[in-house]
């Protein structure tokens, strides 16, 4: 058997190289997020947001931008035979799950590197909240990546995958979004960041991550069978 870390590194490097070369997912995700912020800015007719409204605008935008990347996560594997190549290799197939989820975390971090400063520019008075927000983003990204990888691998074999991914994914990430917005809400409160229940929501995010990472490892091998 090829060591799992070797297979993980090979698949991750292949995905990142292909994305850097073709830019099929990242620009679309970033443009979607920025455009959505512009629409919110003019639709709400507000130059400043705070509390739960700010948190909701930020997370709804990031979630729907993430769906664009999740939809495309396994397209090369499906259309160019990558699934067969990986199934023929003497590797633990959970390496594919780990590599794809890691690639998705990297895409989400790159998206947030663009989207969060634009959000702050459009809607926030100060950038004070952005420091602690990083912890929320990291935990939410991990959960979204684990769930997204699982759902994307299930939906990719369907011709209706563009419909299936949001239809299955969105209900599953409701707890994640409740926790992410719950943790973000006090950070974006009027008068500066507050930390009431911040720690509790981070723990909920961590628990969600743990459940879906373990679930992914447990069922991914089964999902790759014919």
């Amino acid at each position: 058997m090829t060591p799992s870390r070797t297979a993980f590194a090979a698949i991750l490097a292949k995905d990142l190289r292909a994305e850097l070369r073709t830019l099929q997912s990242l620009p679309a995700m970033a443009i979607f997020a920025v455009t959505t912020f512009v629409i919110f800015r003019f639709g709400l007719d507000r130059t400043q947001l705070s509390g739960d409204l700010a948190s909701g605008v930020l997370w709804a935008t990031l979630l729907f931008a993430a769906v664009l990347g999740i939809n495309r996560l396994f397209v090369a594997e499906r259309e160019e035979g990558g699934f067969d190549a990986i199934r023929l290799a003497p590797i633990d197939r959970s390496a594919l799950f780990a590599a794809k989820a890691t690639a998705l975390v990297i895409y989400l971090l790159a998206l947030e590197l663009v989207a969060v400063p634009v959000f702050a520019l459009f809607f926030l008075d100060s950038a004070e909240a952005l420091g602690p927000l990083v912890a929320v983003l990291l935990l939410a990204d991990l959960g979204l990546a684990a769930t997204g990888t699982l759902i994307s691998s299930m939906a990719v074999n369907s011709r209706a995958r563009d419909l299936l991914v949001p239809l299955i994914l969105l209900p599953l990430v409701v707890p994640l979004m409740i926790a992410a917005t719950g943790a973000t809400d006090p950070l974006l409160a009027v008068g500066g960041p507050g930390y009431g229940r911040f720690g509790t929501w981070l723990m909920v995010l961590g628990l969600y991550d743990l459940i879906f990472v373990l679930l992914g490892y447990a069922v991914f091998d089964f999902l790759l069978e014919d």
């Binding site: 058997m1 297979a7 292949k14 070369r21 160019e80």
Partner: protein
């Protein structure tokens, strides 16, 4: 009394192999025993189940019934033991279009636990053998169908498999390509081979056994 010569176990044993897709039987009652180093040529019209048979042997599909043993591994139970010993050349080249040929081969080498100088040397050797040295750094999307097939053949033998499963191996190849491919996946390689083809004239001379599959009929071995 002369010592008894040990007979090596057969490379492939199929008994009563069946594969259903819904209510339709793609394969029904296929039986074959192929010795190590032999070539089995599989013939039959479109829809006869040739590719299905190859995918079952490659562990990519589960049989619906019957017994399948490949290189001593009972499928599907021991499929994990078999992976890495098979060189599979299907209808799709299993190459990523946005990577170069060399990058694709490097990726497959790493999946099979070949890395560093050993991988680079093997890749250079195969690209040369396939007449692809000058096109190895071109993206697969920029290659012709014949060049992709040559590259797919390199991928198929990259990890030095014991068993070759070849589905129309000459597809898209010109005369030079066929000759070069022959050196890599022909009988001279000394490997056990299962070759699916619509070109019996080309492959029957290489066959030790012939399996004829028919739509809705039981398989016949010659």
């Amino acid at each position: 009394m002369a010592p008894e010569q040990e007979v090596p176990p057969p490379a492939i044993v199929l008994a009563g192999l069946r594969r259903d897709f819904g209510e339709r039987a793609a394969l029904d009652g296929v039986g074959v025993e192929l010795a190590s180093g032999e070539t089995l040529v599989v013939l039959g019209p479109n829809g006869a189940g040739k590719t299905t048979l190859l995918r079952i042997l490659a562990t990519l599909l589960r049989p619906s019934g019957g017994e399948v043993t490949v290189l001593g591994c009972a499928l599907p139970r021991e499929a994990w033991k078999l992976r890495g010993q098979i060189g599979y050349l299907g209808h799709e080249p299993l190459l990523y279009r946005d990577l170069s040929g060399r990058e694709n081969l490097r990726f497959h080498a790493r999946l099979h636990g070949i890395a560093g100088d050993e991988a680079e040397a093997r890749i250079a050797e195969l690209l040369a053998a396939a007449g692809m040295e000058r096109r190895g750094d071109d993206r697969v999307a920029e290659l012709s169908a014949g060049m992709r097939q040559r590259l797919a053949i390199c991928r198929c033998v990259l990890h030095r498999p014991s068993l070759l499963l070849l589905d129309e191996p000459d597809s898209n190849l010109d005369a030079e390509g066929r000759e070069l491919a022959h050196g890599l996946i022909g009988p001279g390689a000394g490997l056990t081979r299962v070759v699916v083809t619509h070109d019996p004239e080309r492959f029957l001379p290489e066959a030790d056994q012939v399996l004829r599959l028919g739509v809705g009929e039981r398989a016949a071995v010659a």
